[in-house]
């Protein structure tokens, strides 16, 4: 258990400082904001006549419409900031601002090049649809100061080319741009200059730091378990109940003196579930050889057939009955889906096997196979990772290996380090998931409860709800 818990804790502990890491630019932005803020809203292309540059249009924001007769007022942005977009290839700038607008307020941007203002290619967006700082935690941290601030990305401007057609020109890296924000309200609009900033190219995407650390950790866990499994192939895996059902079914087939039918699914050998099915076939064959009953394996893929013959032959050898092995019982039928089903169903009706094993990957034909099998009264054991087919197996078969149980059964039997190790590694990942969802729920519930009015006031409990957020 400690083996599971330790990497888990490591993940958590390592992931936490990440939040601090991601928050740094936010602190920077917050500090810079007042300094660079609001250059005087002068030199607009067409100064909005008669628009008082004073108070933001708060009444408009409430009613959503201007009363008839009054002149529309362009709302004024505050705390404006122009900055290079962090973690990018140096082709975009960000405009950050606070603005209380109406439902119809639109935002645009202009860029000054060689003395001319060009419109940035961004259809004047509705203010309401712009992202806020809180929406972009990768850039601004999880608790950005001023989370309501709007963020506008500009990376292109429209220019008229030699042919007189509008042409969209992208920003270049390491280039200085002078930008202004344009607020449009109805017929009125007004520009606000934001100053000049240089575009910069970055070499690390800070927003992805959490996934980088998680994936590296996961890789380390998986690889170390695979190597551990190479040294010690007896790593613990729980009993898979389906495998016991397999033995029972073969036993019954022997009692009744009827054959056993095994199908490896319809996928080629490169699929994991087919490999698992072939591994389980080895176990089935050994039992069958011990009990001296018959084994039929109709195949859909010639390569799978060859491998199955090999596996069954070995199993008979190990059971000490190589003479009982008959190659013609493991045969290729056809590689046409429906013809294959029809032939297998024919075999089921004719031979009436006492036990059917349907393991591997199946498509729509799963239903037809399982139905025919159940109508002949056979014990059926199925296993697949085809989620869409599993319901049909559960309702028509006596025992079903669900999804990963099939891989686990295969790893349990074959003890192959690759399968076993990665299964154990994935278990660590699952333990991590379980821990995180339980902890996260506890934290956020506590955070919610203490944040309620009347609960423990006078203390900032907010950090609890944010404890796990850097992970996301």
């Amino acid at each position: 258990m400690t083996r599971v818990a330790f990497p888990m804790l490591c993940c958590l502990l390592l992931a936490l400082p990440l939040g601090a890491l991601a928050q740094e630019p936010a602190a920077g932005a917050g500090a810079a904001a007042p300094a660079a803020a609001t250059p005087p809203p002068a030199a607009a292309e067409q100064p909005a006549s008669g628009a008082p540059p004073a108070a933001p249009a708060a009444p408009d924001a409430v009613t959503g419409a201007t009363p008839p007769g009054t002149h529309q007022v362009v709302p004024q942005p505050s705390n404006t900031l122009l900055m290079d977009r962090p973690s990018d290839d140096g082709t975009a700038l960000l405009i950050i601002f606070n603005l209380i607008g109406t439902e119809t307020t639109r935002i645009g941007a202009g860029v000054l090049l060689d003395g001319t203002w060009y419109r940035c290619t961004l259809r004047p967006g509705l203010l309401a649809t712009l992202p806020t700082k809180a929406d972009l935690p990768g850039y601004f941290g999880w608790r950005p100061p001023n989370p309501e601030a709007k963020v506008l990305t500009i990376d292109r401007y429209t220019k008229t080319n030699a042919a007189g057609e509008p042409e969209s020109v992208p920003f270049e890296k390491d280039h200085e741009y002078t930008v202004r924000l344009v607020v449009v309200e109805g017929e009125q609009f007004e520009g606000f200059e934001l100053g000049t900033t240089r575009t910069k190219e970055q070499w690390f995407n800070l927003a992805g730091a959490n996934s980088l650390i998680l994936s590296v950790l996961f890789a380390v866990v998986i690889m170390s378990f695979i190597y551990a499994a190479r040294r010690n192939p007896n790593l613990f895996i729980r009993r898979i109940q389906g495998l016991e059902a397999v033995d029972e079914a073969i036993g019954r087939a022997t009692e009744m003196g009827k054959p056993v039918l095994h199908i490896n699914g319809l996928d080629p050998l490169s699929t994991l579930s087919t490999i698992a099915a072939v591994n389980i076939l080895g176990r089935i064959a050994r039992r069958v050889a011990n009990y001296e009953s018959d084994l039929l394996v109709p195949c859909f893929d010639p390569v799978v057939m060859t491998v199955s013959q090999e596996v069954v032959k070995n199993a008979y050898l190990e059971a000490g009955r190589p003479d009982a092995y008959r190659e013609d019982k493991i045969f290729f039928l056809t590689d046409q889906q429906f013809s294959y089903v029809a032939s297998v169903c024919g075999i089921m009706m004719r031979e009436k096997p006492a036990a059917n094993f349907l393991l591997g990957y199946f498509y729509a034909e799963a239903l037809m196979l399982a139905e025919t099998g159940s109508s002949t009264g056979a014990i059926q054991i199925a296993g697949t990772d085809a989620l869409a087919q599993l319901p049909f197996f559960v309702t028509t078969c006596d025992y079903t290996l669900i999804g990963e149980e099939l891989y686990a059964a295969s790893a349990y039997l074959s003890r192959e380090p690759m399968l076993l190790g990665s299964l154990k590694g994935q278990d660590v990942g699952k333990a991590f998931v379980m821990l995180i969802i339980v902890l996260g729920t506890v934290f956020s519930t506590v955070g919610m409860l203490v944040a309620q009015p009347g609960a423990m006031t006078g203390f900032d409990w907010d950090w609890i709800t944010h404890l796990l957020s850097p992970l996301m």
Partner: protein, 329 residues
């Protein structure tokens, strides 16, 4: 040689995997260009090649079936003939039009014949190369030789002289941009009237099988299967129009219950209660099943699947999983 055959692919897979893993975290322009070159051009060409491989091996499979006169080789012959027809009708810049009485076919039939010869030649050459022995192999080799010569002469000598086309390319007008499968071509006619009905009928057969299995095989044979069938039936009824008509508790009753409850605990009754509540019918139950327990369980499965997906990717990168390399030494 052993290095080239066994080690090099593993090294390539490791390097490629690492490069694109790291690339995700590098936003600079050079890294974006790398991603663009690989995904927008290289990988797409490689996928095309893999497809060609698939087609060639399918042709080879049916071709050997025909040449060896295996059981059911007639069907293979039909499949290959249909395949040839489809290729002839769609592979050429100028396609025969199906509109009877409309524009005359613009395709040169000589060119079709030449291409057909080349095709047969290539296929038999492939099956010759694939080995086998004795008389059959000899006859395949001869077939390949004859058809390849015929096709080459037709396509590269007679046709360009006669029509200005060399196989697929118009010799006189090299830039044949703007040529593609025409909407009213024979190719699209085949697609609409042969391919579509066959493909869509194949899986509609299953409706009948499901109905018969519903009667004969879907048994509540265990606790699990019972839970499955109950939720399945609720979803089946709930997600067709009928589910809305099967009302369990009408809205009025719900509103009065809720109002009574609010009075009991001394809370104000919201004025829009009548509009926020709806009838409790099978559809709403099915909706709850899908959104709540189904979503939870599927998410549990999904998280597990993602972990195993990542594990497989890692195994491929580190050369532990090599099924993509196929068999052989």
């Amino acid at each position: 040689m052993q290095f080239l055959k066994r080690r090099l692919p593993v090294i390539i897979a490791f390097c490629a995997g690492m490069v694109f893993w790291v690339q995700y975290y590098v936003p600079s322009q050079a890294s974006q260009d790398l991603l663009e070159t690989f995904t927008a051009s290289w990988a797409i060409i490689l996928f095309g090649a893999a497809f060609i491989l698939g087609v060639l091996s399918a042709i080879e499979h049916h071709w050997t079936k025909i040449t060896l006169k295996k059981a059911g080789y007639g069907y293979s012959l039909v499949a290959l003939l249909v395949f040839g027809t489809m290729i002839l009708s769609g592979w050429f810049p100028a396609q025969p039009s199906i509109r009877l009485g409309g524009a005359a076919p613009t395709l040169s039939w000589g060119m079709l014949a030449a291409t057909l010869c080349l095709l047969i030649g290539i296929v038999s050459a492939v099956s010759y190369l694939l080995g086998g022995n004795g008389e059959r192999r000899y006859s395949r080799g001869m077939t390949a030789l004859v058809f390849l010569i015929l096709g080459a002469v037709g396509a590269f000598v007679i046709q360009p002289l006669a029509s200005g086309y060399m196989l697929l390319w118009k010799v006189s007008n090299p830039a044949f941009i703007g040529q593609t499968i025409k909407p009213d071509s024979m190719f699209m006619w085949f697609f609409d009237h042969c391919f579509v009905p066959l493909d869509s009928t194949m899986f509609s057969l299953l409706a009948f099988y499901i109905a018969s299995a519903a009667f004969r095989a879907f048994r509540a044979r265990s606790f699990e299967a019972t839970a499955l069938l109950i939720s399945g039936c609720l979803v089946m009824i709930g997600r067709v129009p009928l589910g809305e008509q099967l009302i369990l508790i009408p809205k009025g009753v719900l509103v009065s219950w809720y109002t009574a409850y609010l009075h009991l605990v001394n809370l104000p009754v919201p004025p829009d209660l009548a509009t926020t509540l709806a009838d409790l019918n099978i559809t709403s139950i099915a909706g709850w099943i899908l959104n709540s327990p189904n979503s939870a369980a599927q998410r549990g499965i999904l998280l597990g699947v993602i972990l195993s997906q990542v594990a497989i990717s890692l195994r491929i990168m580190f050369g532990i999983e090599r099924t993509y390399m196929g068999g052989g030494e």
